[in-house]
């Protein structure tokens, strides 16, 4: 994930801003980490460079 995307992504539930916590970075790209909603506190994982911003109720059935 490019940090550029941070300007436009938000929490899918309340549309509030997200706080980025980077675990792993490669050549400027964020490979893994967590995005946490500054309003409701919901945490969204970044895995293999892709942020998973599905609402929590959709997460399980779509995780292959």
């Amino acid at each position: 994930m490019n940090e550029d995307l941070l300007d436009i992504i938000c929490c899918p539930l309340d549309k509030s801003e997200l706080e980025l916590d980077v675990r792993d970075r490669d050549d400027g790209e964020i490979v893994s980490g967590t995005l946490t909603c500054t309003e409701c506190g919901e945490a969204y994982p970044i895995e293999d460079g892709i942020p998973n911003l599905l609402p929590p109720d959709m997460r399980e059935e779509t995780t292959a």
């Binding site: 899918p12 539930l13 911003l53 599905l54 292959a64």
Partner: protein
Amino acid sequence: MSTGDVALFDRFARYYDLFMPGAKATALSRGLEHAGRPVERLVDVGGGTGRAARALGVERRFVLDASRGMLAQTTLPSVQGDAGRLPLATDAVDAITIVDALHHIYEWDTVFEEAYRVLAPGGVLVISDFDPTTVPGRVLAFGERLVGFDSAFVSPAQLRQQLEDVGFETHLIEGGFGYTVAAVVPKREGT
């Protein structure tokens, strides 16, 4: 929940670019031209492997899809998300495309309201899908049911009506079996 058929796409992702006809880049580009603002940032919703977004000459483009398997195949920046509850800020993008994907998505009114919110004033939503009132459209709708998709198709006229009910100004870009509609967010006073 607005996105159906996700598990099936996770299974088919690897073969998707081989199976599907090439994206109608020309019709999509003509749709984008209806925007009342420069198109610099574009999101391809339900964009899967990103084949439509790749065909468009927009500088900052990314793919949003509920299927992890589809996104894993794309070289474009991507976000896993739901079309009905977009994880995108208000007025965040200049254009949204939904190419051959709307018929896999549930609760269109919610999806269109979300698109309207996320598009900046003058921004454009371009939708390409298949008309079930044409003969090949009927065959396609039947075929998708055979392989297990829970697909929903409407005619361009019905689609435009639904978009206009949400507040968009619509234009038919191309009719026929595979049709393209552009829906523009009217500019607000003083913008």
